[in-house]
């Protein structure tokens, strides 16, 4: 048997090594050339519309280009201007708060929902399918529903809170500078929880239930089983989900653009909305590109952490 198969492989090798085929096929039979050709379309598209814009973005950020005016090289002047720009500082702070607060809540609520969905109950598949809706429906469209729900005069949220006796006067969710960021954060959490829940649920389902059962027999309480068995085993998935979500949230645009446009008085201005306002709204391409690019160091740090973490998990 063994001898037979070795012989078969040998003859196959000699057959593959000397094919009588056309020149195209011969090139395709070379592993390196084949790989090169397979990667070519991807390389062309990503090169043209990702690498090239990135270089162009750096050049723009170092220039005083405006819409229709090519502009000239000004060095780091745009970045220096950002350091003295009070709106930029507000945007940086808002972005940090927005990312940190939403991530904590999305993780906590997402994990909770995942644990609930991991139970056995009737209608589980249907519930899981419905729960994911906020994540799959176009964000812009669902955000309009929220904007309408937040409308101070017609707000159904205000009506509900009033009739529950929680508030006495109307709440200006989006036009009160102190509340606008909170409102935006609520919508982001609403949109993000399903993604966390479904990803973490997938992680939970890979954990062998016998582990928890064994611990239960040894007398571990619900909380202990979660703390010492489920949570450590879920940690790798959790890390990846969090890092993905942090990048998306940090660079978020559409939600704030629809709800407040960065207002009132820049109270909800983020990196991306400010870059849009300056680069597209005002037409200061150089300045706008600099604001966008200022996100890059943070995003890079997050990606490096993620890669290092994945590597560490692979080694163990």
């Amino acid at each position: 048997m063994a001898v037979d198969s070795v012989a078969a492989v040998k003859s196959a090798k000699s057959y593959v090594a000397a094919p009588r085929r056309g020149p195209v096929t011969r090139v395709l039979e070379n592993e390196r050339w084949f790989a090169f050709l397979l990667l070519l379309p991807t390389a062309v598209l990503l090169g043209l519309f990702m690498a090239y814009p990135f270089i162009e973005g750096v050049l723009l950020a170092l220039s005083d280009a405006k819409v229709g005016v090519p502009g000239s090289f000004v060095g780091l002047q745009n970045f220096a201007a950002l350091l003295n720009d009070s709106i930029f500082r507000v945007a940086v702070w808002n972005t940090i708060v927005y990312t940190a607060v939403t991530t904590v809540f999305k993780l906590a609520l997402g994990l909770w929902l995942a644990l609930l969905l991991n139970q056995h109950f009737r209608g589980k598949a249907l519930t899981r399918a419905f729960v994911l809706l906020p994540f799959i429906i176009p964000t812009v469209l669902s955000t309009f529903a929220w904007k309408w729900m937040f409308d101070p005069t017609f707000s159904v949220i205000n009506w509900t809170l009033f009739h529950l006796g929680i508030i006495r006067t109307r709440i200006n969710w989006l036009s009160d500078p102190g509340l606008a960021l909170v409102s935006v954060i609520i919508v982001n959490i609403w949109r993000g929880v399903p993604f966390y829940a479904i990803s973490l649920l997938a992680g939970l389902q890979t954990i062998n239930p016998e582990l928890a059962e064994a611990a239960a027999i040894d007398g571990a309480r619900t909380w202990q089983r979660f703390r010492y068995i489920t949570w450590p085993l879920l940690l790798p998935v959790t890390m990846v989900v969090v890092l993905f979500s942090v990048i998306q949230t940090f660079a978020d645009f559409q939600l704030v653009y629809i709800l407040t446009g960065g207002g009132p008085a820049n109270a909800t201005q983020l990196f991306a909305t400010y870059a849009y306002q300056i680069g597209v709204g005002t037409g200061l391409l150089g300045q706008g590109a600099a604001i966008s690019l200022a996100m890059f160091p943070v995003l890079l740090a997050v990606v490096v952490v993620q890669l290092l973490y994945i590597r560490r998990v692979e080694i163990h």
Binding site: A12, L48, T153, F154, S199, S292, Q306
Partner: protein, 283 residues
């Protein structure tokens, strides 16, 4: 498992799950109610005694009629469909080939290329939209669907590649080797042996890519300017909001109808979609 008395199951399971479901779905319910609510009821302040929040006794189709008759909504739907379909097809084609190469072939720098793809996967659109708008203008693609069809693959290809690499790695090498022994070329082995086995992965990647394209906003907002070229998200945003005036009824009708295609695809392929999400996270 939740053990113990029945009240524990209510407090720790039924109640929180119900609240989650209501909280997550209420905005969609609100969309539906607003869509069929007549204007007279719609613009009644919540302080008014006859404010009926959760139901309407005079449902109307006026908003939908206005949306389909007086705006370019159906045109936007077609645009979005066309753009999403082509961008998905391009991304699947590139992602299949690249994913196969990166997961099954040996060549110099294969590992670092894989890492590179993974990093581009994490680049958000908001990082590059300003220079990209400039490039689109220089290529004379501005205000055409091609501006989006060619740029959407930049975030879809890395995703598709990454997801499909996972599927390809799981296919035993012997399967391919058998075909090669029988005289198949590399191309044939890839196309006729490996790809068919990876069909679930291709479906997941395709569905996910399609919904991502359908949901994209900032590129569509910046690269398109004339009303008849717009996608649903941008068209609804710019044409149904005039200055400070929001056409709430039609806006919600637009949000509802604009969500239906993704919701339909999703409902048919939930399992593939979930596999897409989890596959993208597992990496």
């Amino acid at each position: 498992m939740i053990e113990g008395a029945r009240w524990r199951r209510w407090v720790f399971f039924n109640l929180p799950l119900t609240l989650f479901v209501i909280g997550l779905l209420f905005p969609f319910y609100w969309m539906v109610v607003t869509t069929v609510r007549p204007d007279a009821e719609l613009y009644r302040p919540w302080m008014a005694p006859n404010y009926t929040p959760f139901w309407t006794f005079h449902p109307t189709l006026d908003h939908i009629r206005y949306l389909l008759g007086e705006t370019l909504f159906s045109r936007w739907m077609l645009n979005t469909f066309f753009i999403s379909l082509l961008a998905t097809a391009i991304s699947l084609f590139c992602g299949l080939l690249a994913g196969y190469a990166l997961s099954r072939l040996k060549f110099p720098f294969a590992g670092s290329l894989g890492t590179g793809i993974f990093i581009t996967y994490l680049v958000p659109q908001t990082l590059l939209f300003i220079p990209l708008a400039d490039i689109i203008r220089n290529f004379h693609l501005g205000d055409t669907p091609w501006a989006l069809i060619l740029t959407y693959p930049t975030f879809l290809i890395p995703f598709c590649t990454w997801l499909l690499m996972g599927y390809f790695k799981a296919i035993p090498r012997e399967l391919e080797e058998c075909a090669r022994i029988d005289g198949a070329t590399r191309w044939q082995a890839m196309f006729y042996i490996v790809f068919p086995v990876a069909v679930p992965g291709i479906l997941s990647a395709g569905i996910f890519a399609f919904t991502l394209s359908w949901n994209e906003f900032i590129y569509a907002l910046v690269f398109l300017s004339s009303p008849e070229q717009k996608t649903v998200s941008v068209g609804v945003t710019s044409e149904l909001v005039r200055g400070d005036v929001f056409y709430w009824g039609s806006l919600m009708a637009g949000a509802l109808l604009g969500s239906i295609p993704v919701a339909l695809i999703y409902s048919f392929f939930v399992e593939y979609y979930v596999a897409g999400i989890t596959g993208s996270v597992k990496g």
